[in-house]
Symmetry: C2
Subunit: 385 residues, 2 copies
C-alpha cells in the first residue's frame, strides 16, 4: 500500500425527507445569509425547492437565488454568482442539484473571498480560502457532494478545467435523499451510474498491484452500482436501489477509493471531455464508449486486474478481452452507447478529437499516453479495429 | 438502507515515517502547547517517542508528558491528565499509543474545559466541548484513532464505561505508521485483529437485511484482516500486511460500517467486558470466545448473514453452524482461545459473569438479551453445550 492522506470531513445526512434539515444545519453553524444555487428548474417540479426554501425560512436564513446552472457549467454563471454573493455579503453557498450545480457552488464559494479572477483556481492555483459550501444532492453521479473537485467550462475558449480545492472546497454538509431521484429520466440514472463506475475504475485500474482491501472496496462499489441500475431500470422508484446507488456514487470519489494507490489515471475522463466538448453527448455516455476502449489499449498494465474484476464482479473466470466485452454488454443492456458510431460520432473525426485541448498530453498515470495512443484508443472505440 | 448521518472528519496521515509530521500539523492548526499522553514505554523502545518529541521540538511546540496509561485505562490517570493540562494551559491533547492511550487522551481533552467531573461523560452526558485531540497510533485494534468513542474504567467501582462524544471527541489528525507495529508481540497483533473483526461483526450481524454495498464493505474488511494476520504470523515485518490490517481496523469503527444499518449490536462487547473485568484476559481473547457463542445463540436472526459470510469470506457454501466453526478454527489457528476453558475460566463462574455490571440488561440490538440469555451464551462458550 502506498502512503496516503485521507481527509473527507463532509457531514453526510442521508435519507428520505432529510432535505428539510438544511436550515437547521446552517443555523447551527451560525450562518444567516446564504446564496442558493440551482439548475434548470427540476427542483421546482420534484418538490426539493419547496423543501429547501421552506427549511431556510423556518430557520430564519436569508437567501438569494441563482438559477439556470446548466450541465457542463460555465464560468459566466460563476461570475454572476460571485457578484450576487458579494452584494448580499453571503456567508455560505448552498448548491441544490447535481454535480454541475455543486461544482458551480464551489467555484462561487472560492471566488467570493478572492480578489483575483476565480479562473485562476482552474488554471493551476489552489484556493486558500472559501466560503463554506453546503449541498443538497438531486442526482448521483459526480461525487461532488463529498470532495473538493469542481469542473467549469470557460465559454470563450471552450476550455473545461478542474479546481482541486481539497478540504477547502469540500462541502461542509451534504444532504442526500435518494427518493428525489425517483423521477429521473432513465438515461440520467444510467449515465450517472457509468460516471460513478468510471470514477472507481480510474483508481482501480491505475496500475496498482497487490492491494487487498482497496481492491475489494472498488469491486464492492462497482458490483453494487451495477445491481442497483438493473433494479432501477425495472422500477425507478425502488428506494433501496436508489439508496445503494447514491451512497456508492458518493463513495466512488470521496477519496476512499484512492487510499493506498496513489493518484487516479484520469485518461478516460480527459478523452471523454474531448468528446463532450465537440459533440452533444452526455458525460456518462462518452465514458461508456471510452473506458472499455482504454482498457483494451492499456491491457498490458491492467490485465491481472481486469481478470480479477471478471472473477469478483462478474463472477466469471475469463480472459481480459472477454471481461471488457462483458462491461460493454452491461452498458449496452442499459441503453448506453459503447462505440463512437452508436453516438453518431464518425471515425473520420478521430484526429480532431485527439487534438482537442481537453486532453493534456501526456495523459494517464497507469500508462502515459500521447496523441498517437489516444488515436489508437479512439480507433478501438470506433469499433472498426 | 436505513437513514444515516456519516461524519468522520479525522485527517488520516498514513505511511512509513509519517509520525514526524505531527509537529507541523499542530503548528498548522495554531497549537503551541500540547499535553502528550502515552503508555508504559514501548514507544521509547520502538523509536516513536523520539520521532514525536523531535517533531514537536522542531516545530517549537511546548509539551508536557503524562505516561503510564495502562490497558483498560483508568479514571485516576485521566484526572491526573486533566490537572496537568489545566496547569500548563494545554491547547490540545496528543495521544501516542493504542486505544487505551487515545481513549485517555479523549477523556482528558473533554475534561480540561469542563467544570464538572469528567466521569459525567461516561455516565450518559455528552460533552459539549473538548480540546482538539491528535493521535499517533501504535497498535491497530480499537479504531479509536478515527471515532469519538472512549472507554474508561473507574477503579473504585470497577465500572468500565463509554463516552460517545461524536465529532467533538474525534481526533482532528491521526497518524498511522504501520511499520511501528513490526515489533508487536504476536498475541497483540492477533487480539487487535479479533477486536477489529468483532467491530465489523457488531454491525454486520445487527439484524440488518438486504444490504448490498454495506455488507460487501464488511466482508471485504473481515477478509482483509484475516488474510493480513495469516501473513503476519509468518512475517511480522511484512509492511503491506501491516498496512492492510491497520487501515481495515481503522475502517472497522469509523462509522462507515454503520452506514445504512442503524446501531450496532454490542452484546458481544458487553459480555466480553464482563470477562475482562473479572479475569486477566485480553479484550481480543475474550471476544474470540464470546462472538462465536453469541452467533450460535442468535442464529435465528442472523442465519442468512452467517451463510453469506461463509460464501463471501470463507468461500464455502455451508450451513451457519459450520461457518461459525470455521470462524473458531481461524481464531484457534492464530493461537486465540475460543472457549472459556481455553482461558482458564471455569464454567462454574457463568452466573457470576452474567451478573457483572459491565452488562446492562437488556443488552444487544439484533436480539434483546436478558441474564438468562447471556447465561446460555456463556454455556455455549464453555464448550459444554
Amino acid at each position: 500500500m502506498k502512503d496516503f492522506i485521507f481527509h473527507s470531513p463532509t457531514k453526510i445526512i442521508f435519507g428520505r425527507g432529510r432535505n428539510r434539515e438544511i436550515g437547521r444545519e446552517l443555523a447551527k453553524d451560525g450562518i444567516s445569509r446564504v446564496l442558493m444555487v440551482y439548475g434548470m428548474g427540476s427542483i421546482k417540479r420534484n418538490g426539493v425547492y419547496d423543501e429547501v426554501t421552506g427549511s431556510l425560512k423556518e430557520s430564519g436564513i436569508e437567501f438569494r437565488e441563482l438559477s439556470g446552472i446548466k450541465p457542463n457549467p460555465v464560468l459566466s454563471k460563476v461570475y454572476e454568482g460571485i457578484k450576487m454573493g458579494k452584494e448580499m455579503d453571503a456567508q455560505a453557498v448552498l448548491g441544490v442539484g447535481g454535480g454541475s450545480v455543486i461544482d458551480s457552488a464551489k467555484a462561487i464559494a472560492a471566488g467570493i473571498p478572492y480578489d483575483g479572477d476565480v479562473w485562476d483556481f482552474y488554471s493551476g492555483k489552489n484556493p486558500e480560502k472559501s466560503l463554506p459550501i453546503y449541498a443538497i444532492l438531486t442526482i448521483s453521479a459526480t461525487g461532488s457532494e463529498m470532495n473538493g473537485n469542481s469542473v467549469i467550462t470557460k465559454e470563450e475558449t471552450m476550455e473545461k478545467r478542474g479546481m482541486h480545492g481539497g478540504v477547502i472546497s469540500t462541502p461542509r454538509v451534504s444532504i442526500i435523499d435518494p427518493s428525489v431521484q425517483f423521477s429521473l429520466p432513465k438515461e440520467q440514472t444510467v449515465y450517472g451510474a457509468i460516471d460513478a463506475i468510471t470514477h472507481v475504475a480510474e483508481f482501480y485500474f491505475n496500475g496498482s498491484k497487490e492491494l487487498n482491501f482497496p481492491d475489494r472496496l472498488c469491486e464492492s462499489l462497482i458490483r453494487t452500482i451495477m445491481d442497483s441500475v438493473d433494479i432501477l431500470l425495472k422500477n425507478p422508484e425502488d428506494y433501496h436501489a436508489r439508496a445503494e446507488l447514491a451512497w456508492s456514487a458518493t463513495m466512488a470519489l470521496n477519496g476512499m477509493t484512492a487510499v493506498g494507490r496513489g493518484r487516479g489515471d484520469w485518461a478516460s475522463h480527459q478523452i471523454e471531455h474531448a468528446l463532450s466538448a465537440l459533440y452533444d453527448i452526455a458525460h456518462g455516455a462518452g465514458l461508456a464508449i471510452v473506458l472499455p476502449a482504454w482498457l483494451e489499449y492499456t491491457m498490458d498494465v491492467n490485465e491481472d486486474k481486469i481478470i480479477q474484476l471478471g472473477e469478483r464482479v462478474f463472477g466469471v473466470k475469463e480472459r481480459a478481452p472477454k471481461v471488457i466485452e462483458m462491461l460493454r454488454e452491461t452498458y449496452r443492456k442499459w441503453g448506453a452507447p459503447v462505440y463512437l458510431s452508436d453516438a453518431g460520432i464518425p471515425a473520420s473525426d478521430i484526429e480532431k478529437i485527439a487534438e482537442n485541448k481537453s486532453i493534456r498530453y501526456p495523459t494517464g498515470y497507469a500508462k502515459k499516453l500521447y496523441k498517437e495512443d489516444v488515436v489508437e484508443i479512439l480507433r478501438i472505440a470506433s469499433g472498426e479495429r
